[in-house]
Symmetry: D2
Subunit: 136 residues, 4 copies
């Protein structure tokens, strides 16, 4: 049910479609997204643009927060910090968002972004931020 709400919201985020992102997994307080490194998602050296890691990391974290919210609420990002650890090269990127502390006014979240190449995975970005509930 919460998964359906998240899939409906995700389907309306056109940025996610532009970047080819998909929902891989939805759990209580955690959501995993994946995205290919499309020809149109790159920086000047041909690897994933930092904005791709940000986009899926931020969205994974936001949807992780949404899994814990009442039916009539949505969330939006108040602030997000990303540390980029390694170039985004590989078959695809995978972002796992997680709620660290839910709250009525602020939801503290983190996300990890890995680059996946065959069986290998490499941590390429770490995000930490704040979601705020919005009534819709």
């Amino acid at each position: 049910m919460i998964e359906q709400r998240i899939r409906n919201s995700f389907a309306r985020q056109t940025m996610m479609q532009t970047l080819g992102a998909e929902i891989a997994e939805v759990g209580e307080g955690t959501v995993t997204l994946t995205a290919p490194i499309l020809p149109g998602s790159r920086q000047q050296h041909g690897v994933a643009h930092a904005a791709l890691s940000f986009a899926i990391g931020d969205s994974a974290a936001g949807y992780a927060a949404l899994t814990l919210m009442p039916q009539d609420s949505e969330v939006m990002t108040a602030e997000m910090k990303i540390n980029l650890l390694a170039p985004g090269a590989g078959d695809l990127l995978r972002a796992t968002g997680k709620v660290i502390k839910p709250g009525r006014r602020l939801i503290i979240v983190t996300a990890e972004v890995h680059a996946i190449t065959g069986e290998d995975e490499k941590l390429i970005a770490l995000l930490q931020g704040t979601m705020v509930p919005v009534t819709v």
Copy 2:
């Protein structure tokens, strides 16, 4: 000359083309980019996705750093923090990046992102981060 280097690098960032971003101005230690809020750049309520503000804010800050670098260097984002102040609604977004402190190993940068609607402009995001030089 530095402007040409920046335009060449920018042209290879396919993410910038995907988002419709353009270089508006290049100065010493500052670069301004603009981007429309394309149908494919939105979140679930139809306004600009946070990742659009991040993408152009981060790139404007990175190119601002590049204006102060020697010929054989490029920069990459080590970390970036974004505070989102208001929804990204309007005719277009404009990001102005600025170098706060250049350095041999770390370049501290900020960026402001405004939503422009006719004559009005509204600050919608504030970024603060670190670029690192990379020899290419």
Copy 3:
């Protein structure tokens, strides 16, 4: 009047006294604090500990937010990011906090910390963060 409220609150922050901090100036949406680099406020090389810059930058930003709040409210820090630009050496440190965007639920703030040596001043830290109102 707002200045008196801030001085009363500041006087109750024992950490400010421990660090020798003082209020230098209070304006609408901006507060400036100063602190000496006490023998007990240093890191292992004898310059100011990062926590000193954080302490006065964060408090200056928090009190800047408080200047815009109704009488029965206080603020607390939800999150703060600090970039350290140069070692904290000199006669004293000065932190100027500023409200970037006031809001009912979130107040976005920045602060600059300078090291002052005689007539010279040097930017040593930059902070960007979020204050939240709390009713007391």
Copy 4:
């Protein structure tokens, strides 16, 4: 041996003594510090000042980085972001720093700060930042 280096460096950080901080544990890539909530470390409501959580979180993360550095290196904080999750109330605070990604030029670190009350512990702050090596 690395523990001795860390204890020597820690003993020269006068800010740590001012705050009553102590080294609780040193492992490879991780360091734990504790600090009481001294009468002089508080904010206006009598709980721990945000700067106390920052101080021990940042130092725990820095020393975690130092455990992985060669003998002639030290580290300093380039940038640090802290999310404050709950008031700092209890018997003492405990900060555990951890290296997420070591590097020649940048070391990415996190820290968690818990408030300890008897057998209970509560996560009160989360830090994510960047240390840089400095040759001394």
